[in-house]
């Protein structure tokens, strides 16, 4: 296996706490210069994996390589990675500058270099004027940026970020996303970012590993994960989706003909795991659906509009299909165009953009 472009290589990593298994046989290759995100709900093992890479948790089984070097036996202070902690963990009795200088001092860099490098880092996060303050005198967002500067100062090969934005308010969070992404691009350091916020993951990451129950459910870029979820968990966790029970009627090379429980038939892209006759789930994103008064062909599903929910940029329409299940359709909120709002109680047809329906391998 080649290591040149692989920053962190996790091989068959297992973490057990007594009888509880937090991480079940996870293998991941994180490329150099990549913004890599571990995404999942709390308790999925993403933070455990990050802490194993940092060295705070022992690896029960498996190996972790950092640029080809096996590191799982090294203590945290011997690993050339740095961490931005969820609650910042700034040293309260030191000034901001001293906090940022700490790692460089531990690496025994020459005195002049330590100071200039630390000041440069504070400049990068726009906090130069606060260098002599104590952490408690700064706001949450500022403390966050100090934590980032402190972790970047020793020029780590990989930067680990443990839900760094979760304690900030929405506006600040959005601003920090852009800033983090820019800093990652400027420094060229590999970022491994842990979050439970799918929007954060989708907007910042080069690649995302969606995790649940100690396993990686899917690995891919934001577009892959959003548009081609592999299974129910990913489809449900990332964005909103309509899930329908279908029976596969026939499978050809690229297409699968599926029948909804009510009798409607649909053509979907085939996936390896599905054979004719199997009962599976089908996922359709609400924004890939549109409504019409008349049937537009045999793929149109008929139903009755039940409810319209105004959500700013969109209007969500809930439609009850004739044969039972409900679906949500997102219509862009614009005055122009032929899209219109259907009042509750009116009969409507639901149409799918081609390729919108995805079969899930459960």
């Amino acid at each position: 296996m080649k290591h040149e472009n692989i920053a962190v290589d996790v091989r068959h990593a297992v973490k057990r706490y007594g009888t509880f298994t937090a991480l079940q046989n996870v293998s991941l290759s994180i490329r150099d210069n990549e913004f890599f995100t571990l995404l999942g709900p709390s308790g999925c093992g993403k933070t455990t994996l990050l802490r194993m890479i940092a060295g705070f948790e022992e690896v029960t089984e498996g190996e972790i390589f950092l640029f080809g070097q096996e590191i799982e036996q090294l203590p945290p202070n011997k690993r050339p990675v740095n961490t931005v902690f969820q609650n910042y963990a700034l040293f309260p009795h030191m000034t901001i500058l001293q906090n940022v200088m700490f790692g460089l001092e531990m690496l025994k860099k020459p005195g002049g270099e330590i100071k200039s490098r630390a000041e440069q880092m504070l400049e990068l996060v726009q906090l130069s004027q606060f260098a002599e303050r104590k952490p408690s005198q700064l706001s949450g967002g500022q403390q966050q940026r100090v934590a980032l500067a402190r972790a970047l100062a020793p020029q780590p090969k990989v930067l680990l970020l443990d839900e760094p934005l979760s304690a900030l308010d929405l506006k600040l969070r959005q601003a920090m996303r852009t800033e983090l992404k820019e800093i990652q691009r400027e420094t060229g350091i590999t970022f491994i970012f842990v979050t439970h916020d799918q929007e954060e993951a989708l907007t910042m990451s080069d690649r995302i590993a969606v995790m649940s129950a100690g396993n990686v459910q899917q690995l891919g870029n934001a577009k892959d994960i959003y548009e081609s979820p592999h299974n129910m968990f990913v489809a449900n966790f990332i964005g909103e989706t309509n899930l329908l029970d279908v029976t596969v009627e026939a499978v050809s090379d690229s297409a699968a003909r599926c029948r909804l429980d009510g009798g409607h038939e649909l053509l979907c892209q085939a996936i390896d795991e599905v054979q004719a006759g199997s009962k599976v789930h089908l996922s359709v994103r609400p924004e890939r659906l549109f409504l019409s008064e008349e049937s537009l062909g045999k793929d149109s599903l008929s139903g009755v509009a039940r409810e319209n929910v105004f959500v700013g940029t969109d209007i969500q329409t809930v439609v009850a299909l004739d044969d039972g299940p409900r679906m949500v359709i997102r219509t862009q909120n614009s005055e122009s165009g032929n899209k219109r709002v259907f009042e509750p109680g009116t009969k409507v047809f639901i149409n799918m953009e081609s390729g919108a329906a995805r079969l899930l391998a459960d």
Binding site: F56, P76, N77, N82, F102
Partner: protein, 304 residues
């Protein structure tokens, strides 16, 4: 109606003030009877004339302070020079108390750290175990300490069994015995405040230090210790101050030549010396010294 609103607010706050005053009364009362009054009495007694074999004559005199600081010869007729006897006793007391404090810190800090890093469900049990010996009277504990340390006691026998020494080393009646006695008397006062500080400590700070390439030792020195410093200072004060005035451990473990301030003062009231003004003056000098030390400590803490 701005004026009305203001006067109304004034009425509310004055009611509040009077309620507060009444609620604070028990605290002031206790402080007055049990703290201010005795100190005031000591202060007054230290400036009175002694009566033969205890008691005082109500006549102003500086004799007690004179006796403490100045030497006027065996018959009191020589020109005054500095009297080193009592200053020496004070100096040795400070040294003994400081040694006991350092010993308590060296043993107490790891103990407190150990307890604070256990699972929360068993921490209380450890704290409980630490305090159990202190249910026994101090006198009995100090005497037991003497039994432990004497020539044919368990400490000497253990050291001889493992071959560190060939014959018993005389521990009793040495400075070390007094220091051990003081250490044993006041150890929980060191452990408990440090335990409370370490328990509040955010351990992700230690992780952050390790993440930034700090060794365990540097993490302890530069991150953990500064964070728990208030607890350490409190522990040191709580051990040092009572050690300084203690007389049981020096009397029972130190023998006649290891006289400490506590014994000196005790002698003046209960013992043969029976010089109340001199005892009171010694107590006042000790009190002012402790006050000065505490102020130095407090300033240190404010700086941190």
């Amino acid at each position: 109606m701005a004026g009305g609103a203001t006067s109304n607010a004034g009425a509310v706050s004055s009611t509040f003030a009077s309620v507060r005053g009444r609620l604070l009364f028990p605290a002031w009362f206790t402080l007055g009877i049990f703290v201010l009054m005795p100190i005031l009495m000591m202060l007054i007694y230290s400036f009175l004339t002694k009566e033969f074999r205890g008691g005082v004559v109500w006549e102003f005199s500086l004799a007690a302070y004179d006796q403490f600081f100045l030497y006027r010869g065996l018959f009191g007729d020589e020109p005054p020079t500095i009297e080193w006897t009592y200053i020496g006793i004070f100096w040795r007391s400070i040294w003994q108390a400081a040694a006991a404090t350092v010993l308590s810190l060296v043993i107490g800090f790891p103990t407190a750290y150990f307890i604070a890093t256990r699972d929360p469900s068993v921490r209380q049990i450890w704290v409980f175990l630490i305090t159990i010996p202190y249910w026994v009277n101090l006198l009995i504990r100090t005497i037991s300490m003497k039994f432990m340390l004497r020539d044919n006691g368990p400490v000497n026998e253990f050291l001889m069994t493992i071959g560190v020494i060939d014959s018993p080393i005389g521990i009793v009646n040495t400075d070390v015995a007094v220091q051990l006695g003081l250490f044993y008397s006041y150890l929980p006062f060191m452990v408990l405040p440090i335990y409370a500080a370490v328990e509040r400590y955010n351990f992700s700070l230690s992780e952050a230090a390790a993440d930034l390439y700090a060794t365990k030792w540097v993490t302890l020195r530069r991150v953990l210790l500064p964070a728990v410093k208030p607890g350490v200072i409190a522990g040191c004060i709580l051990v040092f101050v009572p050690s300084l005035g203690s007389f049981l451990a020096p009397d029972l473990l130190g023998g006649a030549k290891n006289f400490m301030i506590g014994s000196l003062i005790e002698e003046q009231f209960g013992g043969n010396a029976g010089n109340w003004p001199f005892g009171a003056a010694s107590a006042m000098i000790l009190l002012s010294m402790v006050l000065v030390l505490l102020m130095v400590f407090a300033r240190q803490r404010d700086k941190a």
